[in-house]
């Protein structure tokens, strides 16, 4: 083993263990399970963007035959108004509870105000229509810049901006201010020959997972709760439900269903506690599934943003200073990803003078939820656009400018620490040498380049490896498999154990069958849970070495493990016939009982990922329509445990980024209500919108991981926004700063020129 080894299973394109279930329709997603006697739960939602709830009358609904329970905000516990950390997440349970079910005010179109459980879906619908809610409509605000104006309607009357000294005396919609950076900006800009300043806007984009949220929840008479649901973390669901409903974690068992996409959007919960309240009252299991309209109106897109960037450089292309102010929509309560946005904005560059300031701003929209590399795509889009423009002004090749200023090992990151070994330069070089970069362009075509950076995270993971007496192994881990992680876990376990991939069966365990795991997110699963699986497999190997040592009557240190066999370590250890894993497993009863390797870790040493993307587009000057002609994505992943799924993650991230850059946006009416609540007009890319997406995998191993893994999932959504905008700008000769680049905007830009 070791990060530079030659591997039998790691890095191979194996067939995923859960694959057959998924191509035959057997795999059970959240909406696919049901229970005897199950009721259907539904939610009544606010039709207003901002309103006081004057009264709620549920009496008629309660009397309807077939209705078994009705709940409103006051039926949920009131909780302390404080932000606490739960694993890799932060949560304020008072706010979270209010988001689940509004108390005094509704804060966005779609905010839940009541819920019912009934024997059929039709009766539940009828019951919702019988609930009378009296609202006093209040003025609303949605755009982030509007929300920051002194006269803007206030969402929370007592909100005082955190992070400003001295603290403001007046309430505003600005929840907090954060600041990063170092050096002397004034001196940096004074040393510049060219300074560019621009303002950028991005629209909120939805994660767009195909599977709507869903859950089946049973609260038994003795208070035991069982939850079947799809989420990015069964333990997250358990922690949140326990705190929101004020019961012990041990009383809740969360069984993870297969998850039909999450991308960050399933790191929060919307239905489970409501279903718990309904089920507890009705004494029957309750199933709740969202419609697509509910998903769009009431679940978390990421923030819309407004960003100013100022960048200085000398004539020969040395960047002298970078400054950015970022304003992010948080949604109805604080918590936009402006912090990571501010930390990542300039991260691909070596800057001596840098400052980023971020504002977290509440607006009348659903709470922003994490979306792949939360906060980074927008801030890096803004900076990558200015870098492109700088290259043009200086008459430099855009990759050459990036190379000249590239962050490398030892560079101080804009958020503080020095980088260890990173693959930024390798990505730039691979992009520059890729045939795509020198291919000729036709009329109305443009090429764009952009880089991207994400931290990647570690966190808590538990795994166990059970060795069966027939020489096979079952690997238990606690992270939902969102994109092939079972295959990676099985490959790593097979590699460490030295047995065939097909002899390893990976299982995603429920919350009562394995110890705590942070959720699948931040690109942590293959890194952190992978590390736990490797450690657990190593633990099993150590036990088997010890047993072989006993049989041979030598010290365990004199036994080595290779290719699935215990062997005497060198001639001095003695001359014994190697014992295979199956040999040792067969006699496990006689040698002390079953062999189970375990690991419980808080994985440290997550290492950052970089990527560089190249895209060619063609703009139709008559219609303003953009066609993506060719796409190449280069990324350092540390080690690709399963190259096909690494490529797939990159390609999927690119598609989402292209959608964000070109099509996807929320359209609100004057009443603050969302107008595009379906896939027809929230236009995600379809197969005919995209070309093949070429991927180049760079492997600069992360020394902290047994196989060198960095993490893959976040980086690929970052560069597409900047790359596409740069390509379009280059095609039409006008700098485009306002995403999405919809045809009307492009036509207007062509018409008005620069």
């Amino acid at each position: 083993m070791g990060v530079d080894g030659n591997y039998k299973w790691v890095g191979k394109r194996t067939v995923r263990p859960d694959g057959t279930d998924k191509v035959t329709g057997r795999a059970l997603f959240s909406a696919d399970s049901s229970m005897p006697g199950m009721l259907i739960g539904k939610i009544l939602r606010s039709p207003h963007a901002h309103a006081k709830i004057k009264s709620i009358d549920t009496s008629k609904a309660e009397k309807l035959a077939g209705v078994k329970s009705v709940v409103i905000g006051k039926d949920f516990p009131n909780l302390p108004n404080k932000t606490i950390s739960i694993g890799i997440l932060a949560a304020n349970f008072s706010e979270m509870s209010d988001k689940l079910m509004a108390r005094k005010k509704v804060l966005y179109d779609g905010h839940p105000v009541a819920a019912v459980a009934a024997t059929t879906s039709a009766i539940a619908d009828k019951a919702l229509s019988l609930i009378k809610v009296e609202y006093q409509v209040l003025p609303h605000v949605i755009d982030v810049d509007e929300a920051m104006k002194p006269k803007a309607p206030l969402l929370h009357k007592k909100m005082i901006t955190v992070g400003v000294d001295p603290a403001p005396t007046k309430a505003s919609n600005v929840a907090s201010r954060c600041e990063f950076g170092f050096g002397d900006l004034e001196a940096g800009f004074a040393a510049a020959d060219v300074i560019i300043e621009r303002t950028f806007k991005t629209k909120p984009a939805h994660q767009g997972y195909l599977e709507p949220h869903g859950a089946v929840v049973s609260v038994a008479e003795d208070g035991q709760v069982t939850i079947w649901c799809s989420s990015q973390g069964q333990f997250m669901v358990r922690s949140y439900c326990a705190r929101l409903m004020q019961i012990d974690e041990a009383q809740i068992r969360v069984i993870p269903a297969e998850i039909g996409g999450g991308f960050g959007g399933k790191t929060v919960i919307y239905l489970e506690p409501v279903a718990m309240a309904l089920s507890g009252r009705a004494g029957k299991p309750v199933k709740m599934t969202m419609t697509r309209e509910e998903v769009m109106r009431a679940t978390g897109p990421t923030s819309g943003t407004s960003i100013d960037v100022k960048l200085g450089a000398t004539k020969d292309g040395k960047l002298t200073a970078g400054e950015a102010e970022l304003r992010y929509q948080a949604g109805c309560y604080p918590g936009s990803p402006v912090g990571p946005g501010a930390m990542t904005a300039f991260a691909p560059y070596n800057l001596e003078n840098v400052k980023t300031v971020g504002f977290d701003v509440v607006v009348n929209r659903p709470q922003a939820a994490a979306y792949r590399a939360p906060g980074a795509p927008m801030s890096e889009f803004a900076v990558e656009s200015v870098i492109d423009e700088m290259a043009q002004k200086l008459g430099m090749d855009p990759i050459a400018l990036r190379e000249l200023n590239a962050a490398k090992e030892g560079t101080t990151a804009p958020y503080g620490p020095k980088f260890g070994p990173i693959g930024n330069e390798q990505c730039l070089e691979a992009a520059k040498n890729h045939p795509h970069y020198s291919a000729p362009l036709g009329p109305n075509q443009g090429r764009g380049v952009a880089s991207g950076f994400w931290f990647n995270v570690g966190g808590e993971s538990v795994a166990s490896v059970n060795i069966n007496t027939d020489g096979t192994a079952v690997v238990l881990s606690g992270n939902p498999d969102i994109g092939g992680s079972r295959a990676s876990m099985a490959a790593m376990a097979a590699e460490v154990l030295g047995i065939d991939y097909d002899k390893v069966r990976p299982i995603v365990a429920d919350t009562s069958s394995i110890g705590y795991n942070d959720l699948t997110g931040g690109s942590r699963t293959t890194f952190a849970s992978g590390m736990a699986v490797c450690n657990a497999a190593t633990d099993a190997v150590d036990q088997m070495r010890t047993r072989a040592a006993k049989v041979w009557d030598i010290s365990p240190d004199a036994v080595e493990w290779s290719e699935g066999h215990a062997r005497p370590a060198g001639p001095n250890a003695g001359d014994f016939e190697p014992m295979s894993l199956a040999d040792i497993a067969r006699t496990s009863a006689k040698m002390g009982g079953p062999i189970t390797g375990r690991a419980a870790i808080n994985a440290q040493g997550a290492a950052p990922g970089f990527g560089t993307h190249i895209v060619d587009v063609e703009v139709d000057p008559e219609t303003g329509h953009v066609t993506v002609l060719r796409y190449t994505a280069v990324q350092d992943v540390g080690r690709a445990i399963h190259p096909s799924y690494v490529e797939g993650q990159i390609q999927g991230g690119v598609a989402q980024g292209v959608g964000w850059a070109l099509n996807e946006e929320y359209v609100y009416g004057d009443d603050g209500c969302l107008q595009n609540t379906g896939f027809l007009d929230y236009r995600m890319p379809v197969a005919s919108d995209l070309p093949m997406i070429d991927t180049v995998i760079i492997e600069v191993p992360n020394e902290a991981h047994p196989f060198g893994v960095r993490g893959v999932g976040e980086v690929p959504i970052i560069p597409p926004l900047g790359a596409v905008a740069n390509a379009v700008s280059n095609a039409i000769g006008v700098r485009m700063t306002d995403l999405p680049l919809s045809p009307p905007k492009i036509l207007a830009a062509i018409k008005n020129g620069s």
Partner: protein
């Protein structure tokens, strides 16, 4: 409100069910016949996760009423493999990692099979446009399109 009595053939088996006038074929398949392989991503005909064939024609089951199944032959993802042998498309999707979360996969497979049933030599553009009614948020379509092209070539004996 009285229920309709419907007789049809699903995956080769005769079935009978009672359905409300407003219930869709997707509701019937999933909730009454326990065929949950067809997924509901939107219930408005925009995502293709519910793709099935009716008398050989590719449709979104969420846009068809249960009552319309009367006398028709319905095929779903559950009947795509023959016995213990996966359909070549299913096999290729597995080998090429043409799925990540797998939620869109049944719909893509049903739609792709329906394409290959009528066109054994589609161009990449034809594949992309035929599958444009199926949304996938995970894969960027690259490996899906490649798999379909590869299977077409294999089935032609290339």
């Amino acid at each position: 409100m009285s229920k309709h009595h419907v007789t049809s053939t699903v995956n080769g088996e005769p079935v009978e069910f009672l359905c409300e006038p407003q219930e869709t074929l997707l509701d019937i398949l999933r909730d009454q016949l326990d065929l949950t392989g067809s997924k509901e991503g939107c219930s408005s005909g925009d995502c293709g996760a519910c793709s099935v064939t009716i008398d050989g024609r590719l449709v979104c089951a969420c846009l068809v009423l249960g009552a319309e199944a009367e006398g028709r032959k319905i095929e779903t993802i559950e009947n795509m493999a023959e016995g213990d042998t996966l359909h070549p498309l299913q096999q290729k999707f597995l080998e090429e990692a043409a799925l990540q979360c797998g939620f869109c996969t049944p719909g893509f497979l049903v739609a792709a099979k329906s394409l290959l049933d009528r066109n054994d030599n589609p161009t990449e553009t034809e594949v992309r446009y035929w599958l444009a009614g199926n949304l996938c948020r995970c894969t960027g379509y690259d490996k899906i399109v490649k798999s379909v092209m590869d299977v077409a070539a294999e089935m032609r004996g290339e």
